[in-house]
Symmetry: C2
C-alpha cells in the first residue's frame, strides 16, 4: 500500500528512516523550516542533501509527484520538503521560484502569527491575505508550490482558497468539531478545502486530539469517518505531525522563533511546557499498520483505506505541485 505522511518534523536520523521502512511508509512531507530566513533555509537544504547522501539506501528526494512512485519502486522512502512558514522567501517574491527549484514543494503562508502574507491562528484578529500575499499565492500557483494553511487563521484561509487557482491544503490539523483548539478547523473551512479539491491531513499531535495523549484509535478513526462524510473520501489523508526525538529546545524554537522575549507556550502552558506524551497506538513511524487496522475496523473499505493512507496525497500533489502549463 502507498503510505504518505503529510507532515513530520523529527530529529532526523538513520534510525528514524529505518523505522519508516519498518512501518511501511512510502513518502513523508518533512518540515524544512519554521522561522528560518532565506539564507538559513539554504543551510537546511544543505543538511538534507547530506542526509540523502549518507542514507541513499533508505531515502530519496521528491521534487515532483512522480518521484513518490519512483521511490516506492526503488524501495526507498521519498522525502518531500515543505516550510511551515513563509520565512524562507522573506520579503522577496522571486524567492518562491528559487525555493521551488530547490525542492520546496509545500509552504504555509503563516505560522501562528501574522506574516507578510496572511494571518496566523494565534493573532486576535485576521484581516485576510495581504497585498504581498496575493502576489505570492499567484506565484505559488505558477511554479507548483502547494499552499498549506495549517497554522493560519480562518479568514486568511478562506481568502487564500478563493484567490488560489489551485487546490489549497491543511497538511496537519483536525476538525474543531472533534476537538476545539486554535489549530483545528471549522466545518466551513473544511468544506472550502474540499470544494477547491484540496486535502486535510489528520494530525496525531495530542494537542489537536480529544482526550489528548489518551485519545483512542477508535475515537481517531471515528473522527476520520465523520470528516469523510463532510469533505468526501477523496479530500482526506494523514498528516501525523510526528516530532520524534526532538528536545524541548526545538519546541521552544517552534513556538518562540526570534519574535518573543517572554516565553510563549503555544498550545501548552507554563505547567505543561514540554512535548506531549505520544499516543500509545502511534508512538513512531513503525505504528502505521495500527492506523490501517483502525480504519478497517471502523468500516472503511480497501479503496477508502488506500485513499486515506496515501493515494489522496499523491493525487493532491499531482493537482497542485506541478508547474502551471
Amino acid at each position: 500500500m502507498l503510505i504518505i505522511d503529510g507532515l513530520q518534523y523529527s530529529n532526523w536520523s538513520r534510525q528514524i528512516f529505518e523505522q519508516m521502512h519498518e512501518g511501511g511508509v512510502s513518502a513523508v512531507h518533512a518540515t524544512l523550516a519554521y522561522h528560518e530566513t532565506t539564507r538559513d533555509t539554504l543551510t537546511r537544504f544543505g543538511e538534507w542533501n547530506r542526509r540523502f547522501e549518507d542514507n541513499a539506501d533508505l531515502i530519496t528526494p521528491v521534487k515532483a509527484p512522480a518521484d513518490i512512485l519512483r521511490a516506492k519502486q526503488e524501495g526507498r522512502i521519498g522525502i518531500l520538503l515543505g516550510a511551515q512558514n513563509c520565512s524562507p522567501i522573506e520579503d522577496d517574491i522571486d524567492m518562491v521560484a528559487v525555493m521551488r527549484d530547490l525542492g520546496l514543494m509545500i509552504m504555509q503562508l503563516t505560522y501562528n502569527n501574522q506574516s507578510l502574507l496572511a494571518c496566523g491562528c494565534y493573532e486576535s484578529e485576521d484581516s485576510g491575505i495581504t497585498r504581498f500575499g496575493r502576489q505570492v499565492i499567484q506565484e505559488m500557483n505558477r511554479v507548483g508550490m502547494v499552499i498549506d494553511m495549517s497554522h493560519s487563521a480562518e479568514r486568511s484561509t478562506l481568502e487564500a482558497i478563493e484567490i488560489s487557482q489551485r487546490p489549497v491544503i491543511i497538511s496537519h490539523a483536525n476538525p474543531a468539531s472533534f476537538y476545539s483548539a486554535k489549530r483545528n478547523k471549522s466545518d466551513r473551512v473544511l468544506k472550502a478545502i474540499a470544494e477547491c479539491d484540496g486535502l486535510l491531513g489528520f494530525s496525531t499531535y495530542p494537542f489537536h486530539l480529544n482526550h489528548g495523549s489518551d485519545c483512542t484509535l477508535d475515537e481517531y478513526c471515528d473522527m476520520i469517518a465523520r470528516t469523510a462524510d463532510l469533505m468526501g473520501i477523496e479530500h482526506i489523508g494523514i498528516g501525523t505531525d510526528l516530532c520524534q526525538e526532538q528536545p524541548v529546545s526545538v519546541l521552544e524554537w517552534m513556538r518562540n522563533g526570534r519574535w518573543s522575549k517572554a516565553m510563549d507556550y503555544g498550545e501548552g502552558n507554563q505547567n505543561n511546557a514540554g512535548w506531549p506524551a505520544p499516543l500509545t497506538w502511534l508512538r513512531d513511524n513503525r505504528d502505521f499498520p495500527n492506523l490501517i487496522q483502525g480504519l478497517r475496523q471502523r468500516g472503511f473499505d480497501d479503496e477508502s483505506v488506500t485513499r486515506i493512507m496515501g493515494r489522496n496525497w499523491l493525487g493532491l500533489l499531482e493537482r497542485a505541485a506541478t508547474p502551471s502549463a
Copy 2:
C-alpha cells in the same frame, strides 16, 4: 535658529550637505532603509560611516538628542538615522537593541504594506498591532527608539499610541483635512499623536499637498496654523520628505521593494510614474529660510517659529529617543 528636518531621503553628496549649511539646517533625520534586511541595513550604516568620514567638516552623527546641540556648536549638520520600515529587524526582537546601538533612532512599524508588526496605509484592511508588534513597541520604548507611524494605517497607528509608553510620531505627512491622500492623517490620529506628547512633521512631498507641486507657501503655512490649533504648537514640526537627486529607480525601489512582480505606482499612477516636480519655494535644502519667512507672514511669533522649525523635534527626541531609566 535650530532647524531640524524630520525626514529626508536624498542621493547624499557633499553638494547636498553644503546646501544644508547654506539653508541654515542644524540636523536632519535621514532615511537609512526602506526594505533592507538586517544584513543590508549594516551596509547602509557602513555607507554612512564613510560619508561621516569623508565629510567630517560638514556633518556629524547624532546618536542621542544632545548630539544635535553639540553638532550646532561645532558648526556641523547633525545626521540622525531612521528606517521607514521594520525590515532592519526582520523577525528578531533582539535586533531592536542592536540597531539602536548602531544609531537607529527612529523606526516606522510599516511601510505602506502589512508588516510583521502592524498594517500599512495601502492595505485594504487593518487588524492592528500584531503579537510580535506589541513586543517590539515595548522594546523600542525600552531602548529609546522612536516609533514612527507615517506610512501606517489608522487602526495600527491608534493602537501603537495606546500600547506605547512613550510618545509616537508621524515624521512626515499632512492632515487629511488639508489634502485627502492615503498617506495623510485624520484629525483623530493627529489628536492622539498630540495627546501622547508626540509630533507631526509636515511634509512638502507634492503627493501630500493640496494642488500638488503648485501648492503655495501661503497654503502650506495656513495648513500649519490650522493644525497648530488642533494639536497644539508643541506637537508640530517639519518633515519635508525631500528626496533630492534621486533617480526613478529609487522611487521604484521604495514602492515595489522585492514584493511585487507587477509595477506598483504608489501615490502616482501609470501616467504619472516618476518623481513629482519640486515646490518652487522648497526646491532643496537651501530654501528653509523661505519656510521661516512664510510662517512669520502667517502670523506665527518667534517662539512658535523656533518651535516648528526645530525646538519641538529636539524636545520630542529628548522624550522618546533616550533609553528608559
